[in-house]
């Protein structure tokens, strides 16, 4: 028995996850990111600093002194905590990557496992559009390095919703809040009725409907520009376009779309936000964005941007696309190998994986067994060799 939401990983899947892990690390390193590892357990109050419902809902326990601990609910807060403590006086920007498990209470209706593997980067101390674009570019690069043929990265900016409500001429404070809430809940009929009841100009309401409806299409950008009547909104959309152009320059134009209905559930995001999606996987395989206020919770005024890839979902996406990494062929089972340690060692030195077994074992192929003074080799593809040891060596390609 294991707790709900937890899962075991068997050798084949573990090998696939490991291959993905290796490919991701190589790309993160290629962009100058250094690996950090943080503990699975943090003080609960650390993870509660951003005051976010998702981040605060974790597995909790007490240490031997009665202090409240929590299994980390994401990696960004711990990495920023680490950077604020250890790199406060170091030159900026800082580039960190991580690969590790995070933990959130099991929620089957949201396909949320209790433990999930995340691989991601954090770029701290770089406020520019170029930094946003570096993260989106690295995300595309990393997904393609894993062999994912077909995916989309949707972009939006958290500045859009807040700037948007400023343009609608809402007078009541309650209307602003309910409108933002409806946007976060993706409840567009409610959003439209709030706007209509607040006597928002017809033109603005139409543009708002269009900008939200046309998520994922180029027209949504044109509609969003129509809504951009304040300098804040013009700036937000210009920034988004600049990021898209930089990512296009890096060779990933095909992958990138806008969605003005995209809303990140984590409250620490402040600027550009993005998600990656792949066919056949119902949840984003990666998500990220700019979080310029997060380090301030650690009394460190440093902007940040980053993303996390949901490694298990990426594995599912590769499976859907028929592009799972090739897993090494199974070890050769050597029936009688326990009686011939020197031959087992010889095979292993030659790079052949061997499981040494007793003589009376009857394992499936690939199988090597001794019959009298001769050997029989049966490979997984049905090929069979019978003869003295030198024939076996030749069949296995050992010089």
């Amino acid at each position: 028995m294991i707790p709900e939401g937890m899962h075991d990983v068997l050798p084949d899947e573990a090998a696939e996850l490991h291959a993905i892990d290796v490919a991701l690390r190589a790309r993160f390193s290629a962009y100058g990111y250094g690996e950090v590892r943080t503990p699975a357990l943090e003080f609960a109050e650390t993870l509660e600093l951003p005051d976010d419902d998702t981040l605060s809902a974790g597995y909790r326990l007490f240490d031997d002194r009665g202090r409240e601990l929590m299994l980390r609910t994401d990696m960004t807060v711990p990495v920023v905590r680490l950077a604020a403590a250890r790199y406060r006086d170091k030159p900026l920007p800082l580039r960190f990557f991580y690969v590790g498990a995070s933990y959130r209470p099991w929620a089957p209706q949201r396909s949320q496992d209790g433990e999930f593997l995340q691989a991601g980067v954090e770029l701290l101390g770089a406020p520019s559009a170029e930094a946003d674009a570096e993260c989106v570019t690295l995300l595309c690069d990393a997904l393609e390095a894993c062999g994912l043929p077909d995916y989309h990265v949707t972009l939006n900016t958290m500045a859009f919703p807040t700037a948007l409500v400023d343009t609608l001429g809402l007078v009541e404070d309650g209307d602003r809040e309910s409108l933002l809430e409806a946007l976060a809940d993706r409840d567009y009929p409610l959003l439209e009725s709030i706007a209509a009841n607040a006597a928002v100009a017809d033109e603005a309401l139409k543009a708002l409907q269009a900008a939200l409806t046309l998520g994922g299409t180029r027209d949504s950008l044109a509609q969003a520009r129509k809504l951009a009547t304040t300098p804040a909104m013009v700036a937000a959309i210009d920034r988004l376009v600049k990021v898209r152009d930089l990512v296009a320059d890096a060779g990933y134009e095909r992958a990138v779309t806008f969605d003005f209905g995209l809303y990140q559930d984590l409250s620490y995001y402040t600027g550009v936000i993005f998600e990656a999606w792949a066919p056949g996987v119902g949840l984003p395989i990666a998500s990220g964005g700019r979080y310029d206020g997060l380090a301030a919770h650690f009394d460190w005024e440093v902007p940040g941007v980053g993303f996390a890839i949901a490694v298990e979902r990426l594995r599912d996406a590769l499976d859907e696309a028929g592009r799972l990494p090739a897993v090494a062929s199974p070890a050769l089972a050597f029936a009688g190998g326990l009686d011939e340690p020197e031959r087992v060692a010889e095979l292993r030195r030659a790079g052949i994986a061997v499981a040494a077994l007793p003589g009376d074992a009857l394992p499936p192929a690939p199988l090597l067994r001794r019959v009298g003074g001769r050997y029989v080799l049966e490979l997984s593809d049905g090929a069979r060799t019978e003869g003295p040891w030198r024939d076996i060596r030749r069949a296995l390609g050992i010089a």
């Binding site: 949707t154 993706r186 009929p189 994922g216 949504s220 779309t257 999606w277 119902g282 949840l283």
Partner: protein, 207 residues
């Protein structure tokens, strides 16, 4: 690629299908769906008929691209889907109703039978009345007849149909058919979904 659309087996299914047909979707095959849950393909569309809660789960999991479900299911499950459009068919109101004999001044908790236990708990948590939601998957009025509950939270249209003799005490929420899209459909098939929404919006504006 096939567009996968979920439909609830609601009484006003014909009105929903009329609207979708006018928007250019091939709906003829849906009438041949005898079983529920069931799936039937018609041209580029695969129609799936199942209860609203199931449709929303499948939308969240990426198995369905779009669905037409009652607002009551959205309120109950609070799923992470895009609620794109109020189709303005099958309008109904979710109401709290009790047997006529249940006095207003009754103290203690009321047992409320409903297909929407989470929504019911949320609704009454905000007010003064203490209720104990009794979750059911079918007609809640039966539970009152059997003496298992003091009242129900159910759509007024269904209460009228059941001729239950229950007295309406409170409005819980206005409901009706909504077009929803899964997050994956929005990200991966945004243009198709948007085109359909634009056509439906135009049709609704003409009414």
């Amino acid at each position: 690629m096939t567009l996968r659309i979920g439909l609830e087996p609601q009484p006003q299914l014909d009105a929903v299908l009329g609207l979708l047909s006018a928007a250019g979707l091939p709906v003829a095959a849906v009438h041949g769906l005898q079983r529920q849950p069931g799936i039937v393909e018609d041209g580029d569309v695969a129609w799936v008929r199942a209860p609203g809660g199931d449709l929303l789960s499948w939308c969240q999991g990426g198995g369905l691209d779009l669905a037409v479900v009652g607002k009551e299911s959205l309120l109950e499950d609070e799923p992470e889907v895009y609620e794109l459009l109020d189709l303005r068919v099958a309008p109904a109101t979710l109401v709290f109703a009790t047997a006529a004999a249940t006095g207003e001044g009754r103290s203690g908790r009321l047992r409320v039978a409903t297909r929407f236990p989470r929504l019911t708990a949320r609704h009454f948590a905000a007010g003064g009345l203490q209720v104990q939601p009794v979750g059911l998957t079918s007609d809640a009025t039966i539970a009152v007849s059997l003496g298992l509950a003091d009242g129900v939270v159910e759509l007024d249209t269904l209460l009228a149909e059941a001729a239950s003799g229950l007295v309406r005490r409170d409005t819980v929420a206005p409901c009706g058919a909504r077009l929803v899209a899964g997050r994956a459909a929005r990200a991966l098939r945004g243009a198709e979904v948007a085109a359909l929404v634009v056509r439906l919006r135009d049709l609704l504006a003409q009414r």
